[in-house]
C-alpha cells in the first residue's frame, strides 16, 4: 500500500496542529469534542520551545498507515513555502501539508503567545482551553478532508 506523510502545520506547532494530528491518528475522538483534560494532557500539547521551530515531529500513524506529523513554522503564512519546497523536489506524491492556521482563533493566538512566547503558561492555558474547544469541530472537518486518499479524490 502506498502511504504518505501528512504534516499539520501552524505558527507554533503546539496547539491546533497537534490537536488535528491526534484527531487524525485516532487518539482524539472525532465524533464529539473530548473533555479538555484529554487534550491538554497530549504529550506534545503546549510544550514546544524555540528549538522546535522547523522540526517535523512524528505524532503517530493513521488507520491507513500514513505517518502523521506536526510542524511549527514561526510564520502565519507558510502554505506557499512548504508546498513550494515539496513541489520543486518532485515530492508531492510523498507529502501532504495541511495548514491549521485558518482555525487558530483569537483565544488561541493570545493564549499561545502568553504560554509559549512569553513563557507564562499559567496565564495562557486558560485562554488556550477556550480556544481549542471552539476550534475543535472545525479541526475535525479539516482532518476529514486531509485524510482522504488520492484514490478517494479520484473516485469522487
Amino acid at each position: 500500500m502506498i502511504t504518505i506523510k501528512v504534516i499539520y502545520f501552524d505558527y507554533g506547532g503546539s496547539h491546533s496542529s497537534v490537536v488535528a494530528a491526534h484527531i487524525h491518528t485516532g487518539k482524539l475522538d472525532s465524533s464529539k469534542t473530548p473533555p479538555i483534560g484529554e487534550i491538554i494532557n497530549l504529550p506534545d500539547f503546549d510544550k514546544t520551545t524555540q528549538e522546535d521551530f522547523g522540526k517535523i515531529r512524528k505524532v503517530g500513524t493513521d488507520a491507513d498507515g500514513n505517518e502523521i506529523h506536526v510542524l511549527g513554522t514561526k510564520n502565519g503564512n507558510s502554505g506557499g513555502l512548504v508546498s513550494g519546497l515539496v513541489d520543486t523536489q518532485n515530492l508531492t506524491d510523498k507529502f501532504r501539508f495541511v495548514d491549521t492556521m485558518p482555525y487558530v482563533n483569537t483565544w488561541l493566538r493570545i493564549g499561545g503567545w502568553l504560554s509559549r512566547g512569553l513563557s507564562l503558561p499559567a496565564l495562557g492555558r486558560p485562554l488556550i482551553r477556550i480556544g481549542i474547544l471552539q476550534a475543535y469541530p472545525k479541526l475535525v472537518s479539516l482532518v476529514r478532508e486531509a485524510g482522504k486518499t488520492r484514490l478517494m479524490e479520484v473516485l469522487q
Binding site: I56, G80, L81, D87, Q89, F95
Partner: protein, 151 residues
C-alpha cells in the same frame, strides 16, 4: 539541483542575489517581481530561471531564513531519496536590515507604495553587495573558488 535563496525579504534582497547568481542583475529594475508586494505577501517560491550551470534558481522571503533551511532538511530527511534536491541558501547582507521593516510597512494600505519605493531605493543602494553575494554563491556551488593559482 535547485537553489532557493532566502532572505528576510523576497522581492528585494533574495531576488537581487538570485539575479546576481544568474548574471541577470541588469534586469532587476525592470523586473515585474522587484518590489512587487503581492508576491511578497504570498510568500511563495519565485522562479527566477535556469543558470548556466544548469541549476534552477528560486527566491523567497521569510523572516527566519534558518527555519526555512531546517524545514527543507527535515523534508529531505523524511523523504529519503530525493532525485531533484533543493539547496536552500540563507542570505544576510550587512546594511540591509531596514528592508524587512520597510517591506512590512509597504504592505499597509494607502501609504504602502511609499515604503515600497523606499525599500527599492535601499535595495539599489546595496545592489553591488547583494549581486556579489549571488555570484559568490555560484562560484562556491560550481567550485570556481577552488581554482586559485598555485604559488
Amino acid at each position: 539541483m535547485n537553489l532557493l535563496f532566502v532572505a528576510r525579504t523576497g522581492v528585494f534582497e533574495a531576488l537581487t542575489v538570485g539575479l546576481g547568481y544568474l548574471d541577470q542583475e541588469e534586469q532587476l529594475e525592470s523586473s515585474s517581481t522587484f518590489g512587487n508586494m503581492d508576491w511578497e505577501k504570498k510568500a511563495e517560491l519565485i522562479y527566477l530561471g535556469r543558470a548556466s550551470d544548469g541549476n534552477e534558481v528560486y527566491c523567497v522571503g521569510n523572516k527566519y531564513p534558518d527555519i526555512v533551511v531546517r524545514i527543507n532538511e527535515e523534508i529531505k530527511s523524511l523523504a529519503g531519496q530525493v532525485d531533484n534536491p533543493l539547496k536552500v541558501l540563507p542570505i544576510s547582507i550587512p546594511g540591509t536590515e531596514s528592508l524587512y521593516t520597510l517591506s512590512r510597512l509597504a504592505m499597509l494600505p494607502l501609504v504602502g507604495s511609499y515604503f515600497a519605493r523606499q525599500a527599492k531605493s535601499v535595495t539599489l543602494q546595496h545592489k553591488d553587495e547583494l549581486v556579489s553575494s549571488g555570484k559568490n554563491f555560484r562560484d562556491r556551488v560550481t567550485g570556481k573558488a577552488a581554482a586559485k593559482p598555485l604559488k
